[in-house]
Symmetry: D2
């Protein structure tokens, strides 16, 4: 994700890449790498050295969970607004970082998912469920995915459940001729997980009512899809004065 | 639509059918019709007679444009909240009826479209366009539809245009090998109209961005789909104190 | 189905409706029913009377299983080619009727499904499975359907199985976080049954392979869809000299 | 495509990579390239040298049109069955190469498209058109595609046209409120070209008839999708005794 973020910042006309931090970097300058020839941007393997020499508005971070808490705190301490794509913060850590950001009056975002399309899909699904309590979720992924349903499908089901509560679906006397045909049951809602080679990450939330249907579908083809959300977040954290959790707050 | 509305009111547990108004009715009681055996509800062919004998909260009306203005005014005058599914009111008529409803402090709704799913589709599409300026609309209807694009497709495009403005799509040097391949152009947005036997009324709004796609689709199979919106509106007009225009205001 | 068949025969320019047989009919002429005014076609409640007075090429029959065997035999005996849409014939009955038709040199068809689109979907799916062994079936029906998966889905899976045999799909270590997420398992193939109001009868057969996907989908909206298959069959039985089983033999 | 082919041959258990031919190669051995460490396969920049030292059953070639004719002839001369993915052969060249292959009794294939899914889609579409003359094609590609409709869409339309001929679709009095809404017209069939970022190459052939619909859809995500077709062809050319044109002949 570091490379994707670097490229995204370089592509945005109103952004300027202040520096790159990589604890394992061998380079001192980005342009030592052939694909970045012409980009004279400093690369640091030491955070302390970085903040001495560099002044930046935003700190973008997709590092591992163990480093992310430390880095988020470090960014705030040094006046940089964190935009963090790491999952696994504890509630206590989130509370502490949020309080600290409020004291400093610094904006910031921690988000488990930066795909704007996926976040919109979930928001729309939750809204539609107010009027369409009957809904099934189909999520389709490549054949190497281990968990079924996907995390996004479960998150979507939770959001819909908050709106409509328990609601048994299908005919009360329906019968599975082959076990599992009706999918996973989440408070009456059914979730179906398809796994096929060639697929990447797709989800369809399908609502039905007398005489009509409503479908909200998100297709994710590659990690590029996260970068629009990261760019949006970099702009939005400049306008707020505390750390928030979840990209949906910016949409 | 009269029959569909009658059945809807009878089906709702918290509704009570006060009376039926049909200027051409031969019956005096609904139960003179075999399918309504057991429903002793008065049928009136004369509005004046109706209001003398009947007290109702809501007046549901899907009549022809020439009768609808008259009826809406009549409903307000007699203390009934109008829920009107007729199109073709002039701006002047709408303004006048709205002002009159305010004076009386009576709620009401005039809406060109009561399909909740279609209204949500348009709302979601307009919101998604903020983050996904690249969008094409495919609308699919039965082969006897005369106009292309459909009214709903044009309305959707207008709502998206309000959000994203002009935005040329496709490659600047793209070339139609057969004229019309790229569809209708609405401020850069493309609209495609499919007409096939077997279809009813369907619309897919498809957004694309680097590495991801978002699709919002509505399928309408029959007029039953309007009845959920009418039922919702009957409940909502009880809570407001003026006439409004458009079902989206209740969602 | 009797009404649908009657209407279909009347609509085809090269067909002529010889007579209608209905054991419970009160009418003697079709034009006693208001919707058939102008169609002077005899209606019989007695088969024996019918064959004395009427000469017909084809006998169309969608009656109940107990009557169907009797009627098929009766049609052949009287020189009419049977086109039968009833399920539930025993193998022995089918064999006996087939042999009898051969003796007489009379064509005929017994078919459990007259939807040409559904039959093509199954044929295409079986062919595609030769090159795409990874496949999942999603079938979507109205919320009052009792059985899952649908008969068509199971039939499709059987046809695919004949081509590709056993083939475990998904990651060997995949794990259902909620039971049933991965659907029904048929020799490694997964089948997912969606039930929602507003839907009629739909099936999507989805194949995946490295870098590509192939989808075959059939949507059935009403019984009209069977009539093209019945009309086709009436023409085809005139060209053959024995009874056959299954519409796929005519496609 | 050279790399993709090399990897495909190495992955197939029943294939053995005899040699690699690249007129611009610097290497003499494939294992001089880090990703092929351990694969001791000769690399030739000279065809003449290759055939002196190497004995192979099949010659796979995706080179430029000007080289492809020469190479195909060369392969046949040296007893190798050509599998050629280059377009742009003239009819005269194809005839000459086919005749030459017959003399030698050597199998071979020249194909403009090796995506099995796309070839099946076209075959199924042509068959379905016999029973469903009403059809529209939607093809969806990335926003940098210059031509609309795509070559595959036009090829599909041609195949359908061969089956159903001219057939005006839509209502005779239908009217485009915005020009182009009804798409490109090909003998009455409509073709719609969608261009959006995030998309790769997709095509949906949609048939409609009274009460039913049939959809055949192909999604192509990357060039990997061609390799199954190349592998299949390498096996099939061993079983035939002449050069043929078009992957459909092997399906």
């Amino acid at each position: 994700m570091g490379t994707a973020c670097t490229n995204m910042v370089l592509r945005q006309e109103d952004f300027s890449l202040a520096a790159v931090y990589d604890p394992f970097a061998n380079e001192k300058q980005l342009n030592e790498l052939p694909q970045y020839a012409g980009n004279s941007v400093r690369v640091y393997s030491d955070k302390a050295a970085l903040v001495k020499e560099i002044d930046a508005d935003v700190w973008i971070d997709f590092s591992r969970p163990d480093a992310a808490y430390e880095n988020t705190r470090f960014a705030l301490e040094n006046g940089m607004r964190p935009v963090i794509g790491t999952t696994g913060f504890s509630s206590k850590q989130l509370e502490e970082l949020t309080n600290y950001s409020k004291e400093l009056g610094l904006g910031g975002l921690i988000a488990p998912n930066f795909a704007i399309g996926a976040v919109l899909m979930m928001e729309f699904a939750a809204k539609a469920a107010k009027y369409f309590p009957d809904v099934e979720i189909m999520e389709l992924h490549h054949e190497n995915k281990l968990d079924a349903p996907s995390g996004t499908a479960i998150k979507t089901a939770e959001l819909i459940y908050e709106v409509r509560g328990d609601h048994p679906q299908g005919h009360p006397e329906e019968k599975e001729l082959i076990e599992g045909a009706r999918g996973a049951d989440y408070h009456g809602m059914k979730i179906h997980s398809v796994r096929l080679p060639g697929l990447v990450a797709h989800q369809q939330v399908q609502f039905g009512s007398a005489g009509e249907g409503l479908i909200i579908r998100h297709d994710s083809y590659d990690r590029d899809s996260f970068m629009n959300g990261v760019a949006l977040s970099c702009r939005k954290v400049m306008e707020i004065d505390r750390l928030i959790y979840g990209l949906e707050n910016f949409l």
